[in-house]
Symmetry: C2
Subunit: 122 residues, 2 copies
C-alpha cells in the first residue's frame, strides 16, 4: 500500500556490467574484457532494442512505462519484455516498479562507458 518506487534487483553484477573503460585504442583488449564488452554492444545490435533505447532517452524524465513501449515499437508484449531484459542484463537500462507499472530508464554512465571505449587515440 505504500506503493513507493521500488528499484528492481539488477540481474547482473553492476561491477562487470561493462568491464570498464580503457579505449580500444589504448591497448589491445584482453579476451575476458572483450567478452563482457561484447555483450553490451550486442545489446545495441538489434533494431528493436536501439529504438527502445531511443524512446527511453528522448522521453522527458528519462523514464518510460513498459506499457508505453509496446505500441511504438510494433512488437508483441512478450517480445518487448524480452528485449528490455536483454538491455537490463547488459547493464544499460534500469527498471523501477511503481505500483502495477514498471518504469524503464537508461543508465547514462553505462552508455558513456561504451562511448569511452570507442574514443580515438588522444
Amino acid at each position: 500500500m505504500t506503493s513507493v518506487a521500488t528499484t528492481l534487483p539488477l540481474l547482473t553484477d553492476p561491477a562487470d556490467a561493462v568491464a570498464c573503460c580503457p579505449p580500444l585504442s589504448a591497448s589491445p583488449l584482453p579476451a575476458e574484457a572483450a567478452t563482457s564488452l561484447a555483450r553490451a554492444f550486442s545489446a545495441l545490435g538489434d533494431p528493436v532494442r536501439l529504438r527502445l533505447m531511443s524512446l527511453l532517452m528522448t522521453a522527458d524524465g528519462g523514464q518510460v512505462c513498459a506499457c508505453d513501449l509496446v505500441e511504438p515499437v510494433g512488437k508483441s508484449q512478450p517480445t518487448v519484455s524480452h528485449h528490455l531484459k536483454v538491455l537490463r542484463d547488459a547493464g544499460l537500462v534500469s527498471a523501477t516498479r511503481r505500483g502495477t507499472y514498471i518504469w524503464y530508464a537508461v543508465i547514462p554512465e553505462q552508455v558513456a562507458a561504451l562511448r569511452a571505449v570507442l574514443a580515438p587515440t588522444a
Copy 2:
C-alpha cells in the same frame, strides 16, 4: 609489378554504412535507421571482433596485415577472415591490398559516428 596499395572495393555502400548520426537522445529512432545502425553495433558485439578492432587501433600506422591478426586472436585463419568481413560489411574497417598481403584499418569516421549516436542530451 607496380605493386601499389590497392584499396579493395567496399562491400557495402558507404552511404548507408552507419545511417548517420543524430543521437538516440535527440529523437525517437525510426525503424529503417535502426536497422543499419544495429548492424554496426552488432559488428562490435563479438569478443573476437572487438579484439580485432583494438589490435587495429593500437597498431602504429593504424594498419595491420591480416597475417598478423590470426595468432593474437587465437582463432583459425578462416574464422578471422570471416570476422574481418563482418567488420568490413558494417563499414567499420577498410582493406588495402599490398602485394600478397592485405592490410586492414579501422575507419575512424565510422567509429566516431557510432560514438555520436550514443551521445547524451546536450
